[in-house]
């Protein structure tokens, strides 16, 4: 397993913090493995830990009463889980499920909240991240509503590739259908179309991204917009 200091320097919210703040953080966090499918929070659960993914990534999902699900945001090494703690709550609003196994930094909720007032740089970064999440959520609502499944699937595969840091993804149709809030048949057709264009290869839950720039062109504008949003918000002094 990787060291705490390597982990802190990998997560993009933590990497550039002043050394005093990194040290305060290191004193109360640990590196933990996250397994595929592991549930970090159930809606209305008390949030006991904040997580900063290193090479794992997690989906935030809305569940309806009839058990329909829809992913609304995703967090990997560029983000964190447990934003409710930053907002002063300790109840999770959404289901958070690990999608990409790997490791994350984990901090007990009370220690994380105690760090915030004494770590101004961390607080500022988290406010920027909040801004990013809010805008991504707004954009997702429109994307889900207006864009074709094929464009959304391409976007989703790119977002996943960025966080998994790998061209090889293991995803079933069923899982993709749930994430995108569409029927399985819709995913089958969209994946087939992307495969026929030579952008991905798909075989029994194994997806290999063959042509990343082609996939960017096939995705809706939301993908590049999200990337630009993150870069701009984090670069602003």
């Amino acid at each position: 397993m990787i060291s705490i200091s390597h982990a802190i320097n990998t997560n993009r919210l933590l990497a550039d913090l002043p050394s005093a703040e990194q040290a305060a953080l290191a004193a109360c966090c640990e590196v933990v493995p996250l397994a595929f499918g592991e549930v970090l929070y159930q809606p209305t659960d008390t949030v006991t830990y904040a997580y900063f993914p290193i090479n794992s990534f997690v989906s935030n999902i809305v569940i309806l009463n009839n058990d329909s699900r829809l992913e609304v945001t995703m967090a990997g090494l560029e983000g964190m889980l447990g934003i409710a703690l930053v907002l002063g709550f300790n109840k999770a609003p959404l289901l958070a499920v690990v999608q990409g196994a790997g490791v994350a930094l984990r901090i007990p909720a009370s220690q994380f909240q105690a760090l915030l007032p004494t770590s101004p740089a961390l607080h500022q970064r988290l406010m920027r991240y909040l801004y990013i999440v809010m805008n991504q959520l707004a954009n997702s609502a429109a994307c889900i509503h207006f864009h074709r499944i094929e464009e959304r699937l391409a976007r989703w595969l790119l977002m996943t590739q960025d966080r998994a840091q790998s061209d090889h993804l293991q995803l079933t149709h069923e899982f993709l259908a749930m994430m995108l809030g569409v029927r399985r048949a819709g995913i089958t057709l969209a994946a087939l179309a992307l495969q026929q264009r030579g952008l991905i290869s798909y075989h029994r839950g194994d997806i290999i991204i063959l042509d990343r720039s082609g996939l960017v062109a096939a995705a809706c504008q939301c993908y590049t917009q999200d990337c630009a949003l993150y870069a701009n918000a984090m670069a602003t002094p």
């Binding site: 829809l70 609304v72 709550f89 809010m134 959520l137 707004a138 609502a141 509503h145 207006f146 949003l229």
Partner: protein, 242 residues
Amino acid sequence: MLQTRHFQQNALLGLLPEKELEHLLPHLEEVSLTLGQSLSESGRHMSHVYFPLDAIVSLLCVMENGDSTEIAVVGHEGLVGVSQFMGGETTLTSAIVQSAGQAYRLKSHLLKREFDRAGTMQRLLLRYTQALLTQMAQTAVCNRHHSLDQQLCRWLLLSLDRLPGNELIMTQELIANMLGVRREGVTESAGKLQKAGLISYNRGHITVLDRQGLEDRVCECYAGVKNEYDRLLKYPAVTVAC
């Protein structure tokens, strides 16, 4: 005293302790917002933030081709311009007045200054943001999974909660823009609600006749959002900072 009571029409201002409200009072400017007025445009800097009193503002996400969909609604319980205290230079959403009325506006940098004092205002704004995020996530899923009839009921109820009366002045075209559908769809859905005696619709005036009837038809998304806001407003805001 009368003036203070007026400020309290906005829940966030109303929950501020007197000392913090005193910082803001000289800078708050009452403005009349008109139907369809744009308070912020995607990609532009926002010079002011707005605390609605009886006006309702719709936050929209507008796509490159001009298609738009509402992602949240803000009334007397909230603030238009949360991105300003987060340090985001611009906003990606547009804010359009969906029901005319009064609001207080404040220069964006002054909101940021109040937020950075790390007092009650900061805690209130963060809590409000949580409610707003919940509303956005719920709207996204509602747009995907629920019928237009249910979405229209949700939209009417969320508006009604932010209005002093039961009448909304609104064109079907604006509703269609909010819900991201064609006008014909709104006409059909509104027609059904009218036939069932729940609303009356006449030349841009929608009057809600049977609120309970709307609540019986609406999807779970309305209650999900409402509970989050109720929790926000019940939360004791005036706690001593530690």
